[in-house]
């Protein structure tokens, strides 16, 4: 089981690494932030797997912090990068 979970962790980490290519390429900051968001989710998944693999449940707390603060950082990014202090698009009639 440990080998299988480690393998899953490696695949997710490698996938996220490929996604980081987006940070490199952009073309816009929105894409870059999406890649960072994907890294956050991938990091959360990898941490949960390693909490079970290593038998250290406290690692779940790191995953909780990353999930909480990634949302906070992304919200700040949208505000600062786009100056989103305007109105929202009228999405309802």
């Amino acid at each position: 089981m440990t080998v299988f979970l480690t393998l899953a962790g490696i695949i997710i980490l490698a996938t996220v690494a490929a996604g980081l290519w987006r940070i490199l390429r952009g073309p816009e900051d929105a894409e870059r932030m999406m890649a960072a968001q994907l890294l956050g989710s991938g990091g959360v998944a990898v941490l949960l797997l390693s909490a079970v693999i290593s038998g250290i449940p406290a690692i779940i707390d790191i995953a909780l912090s990353i999930a909480l603060l990634a949302a906070f950082a992304s919200a700040a990014f949208v505000l600062e990068a786009f100056g989103t202090r305007g109105d929202e698009p009228a999405d309802r009639p």
């Binding site: 080998v3 480690t6 393998l7 962790g9 490696i10 980490l13 490698a14 690494a17 980081l20 940070i23 490199l24 952009g26 900051d29 870059r32 932030m33 890649a35 960072a36 890294l39 956050g40 990091g43 990898v46 941490l47 390693s50 290593s54 250290i56 406290a58 690692i59 707390d61 790191i62 909780l64 912090s65 990353i66 909480l68 603060l69 990634a70 949302a71 906070f72 950082a73 919200a75 700040a76 990014f77 949208v78 505000l79 600062e80 990068a81 100056g83 989103t84 202090r85 305007g86 109105d87 929202e88």
Partner: protein, 314 residues
């Protein structure tokens, strides 16, 4: 068969790759996003070597609060950003190269030729845990063995805040920090800023409470609380306080003052500065940690908010 070396190798490559990219990124905003990603990856590295306390700090500070601080700075500096072709002079680059080489060689020597046995205070640190009624050796080091360092760390935070405050124009001294936020009507942001802080506050308090026996601590908890406060201010749900406010300044000092009071009380009840009596160490440790968490949260929140740029009335 174990796949762990493969996992660590991949993680190390990723950290180096992201660090390199952050350095060569042309736009400041892109570099800041790289830095946030780097902070999250370092969290994975610390978790990988079972340093959960450090990983928690790195995730909260590197990926969260420092990231937002830099995002704000980058957004603000955008109009003054130098043209991409501007490069530092040759002498500067050579100097930086020499210093980097020295650091690399020093680290290589430490890693490649380790002393045997490695110097460690781990056994001595674990030995006295029962006397302190604590289970987490990291908390014991921070709050008992090296309590003076932890107290001075709060003073450093305060000095940093004074440095930030002194950047504001004189006429606004004591006023509201940061530029006036425009009215935010993005309902998704309002939703997030209303729903996330209650969860974050519970989690921040949990990190403080659990730190007696499990990974966590006042700094990690305080950082999470600060992030939630900043989120509410960003969404316009809470106005930042005027930096001249008496109550605010008391909060900023409460952690350090409690520390000093308990420290001097140590002369009377335990025979030394910052000594804890054998009868009730844990109660005193909590008494210090609670105001300290609040002080950390308020200081970090105000550091991100910036110097006073508006009058109290605006």
């Amino acid at each position: 068969m174990t796949l762990l070396p493969l996992y660590y190798g991949l993680l190390a490559l990723l950290v180096i790759g992201v660090a390199w990219w952050t350095l060569v990124a042309r736009e400041t905003m892109a570099a800041v996003i790289g830095f946030i990603a780097y902070g999250m990856l370092l969290g994975l590295v610390w978790a990988g070597i079972a340093s959960v306390d450090v990983a928690l700090t790195e995730a909260a500070i590197g990926g969260g609060v420092t990231g937002v601080l830099l995002l704000r700075a980058a957004a603000r500096l955008r109009p003054t950003e130098p043209a991409p072709h501007e490069k530092p002079g040759l002498v500067f680059r050579v100097l930086v190269g020499i210093f980097c080489a020295i650091v690399t060689i020093g680290l290589a020597v430490v890693v490649l030729f380790p002393t045997d046995p490695a110097p460690s205070l781990a056994i001595a640190a674990a030995e006295h845990l029962p006397a302190l009624e604590l289970g987490n050796p990291v908390t014991a080091v921070l709050i008992a063995y090296r309590a003076l360092d932890t107290m001075l760390e709060k003073v450093v935070l305060l000095l940093a805040l004074i440095g930030v405050w002194s950047l504001g124009p004189d006429r606004n001294w004591g006023g509201l920090p940061g530029r006036a936020p425009a009215v935010v009507t993005d309902s998704a942001l309002t939703f997030l800023a209303k729903l996330l802080p209650p969860i974050g506050i519970v989690f921040g308090v949990y990190l403080l409470w659990t730190s007696a026996d499990n990974p966590g601590g006042a700094f990690q908890g305080g950082t999470v609380l600060a992030a939630m406060w900043i989120l509410a201010m960003m969404a316009g749900l809470r106005a930042p306080p005027a930096i001249g406010s008496r109550a605010l300044r008391l909060l900023l000092l409460s952690g350090t003052i409690t520390f000093i009071v308990v420290g001097f009380a140590g002369f009377l009840i335990a025979g030394g500065f910052l000594s804890y009596p054998a009868a009730f160490p844990k109660a005193l440790i909590l008494l210090i940690e609670i105001p300290m968490t609040l002080t950390i949260a308020v200081t970090l929140g105000l550091l991100v908010s910036g110097p006073a740029e508006r009058d109290k009335t605006s």
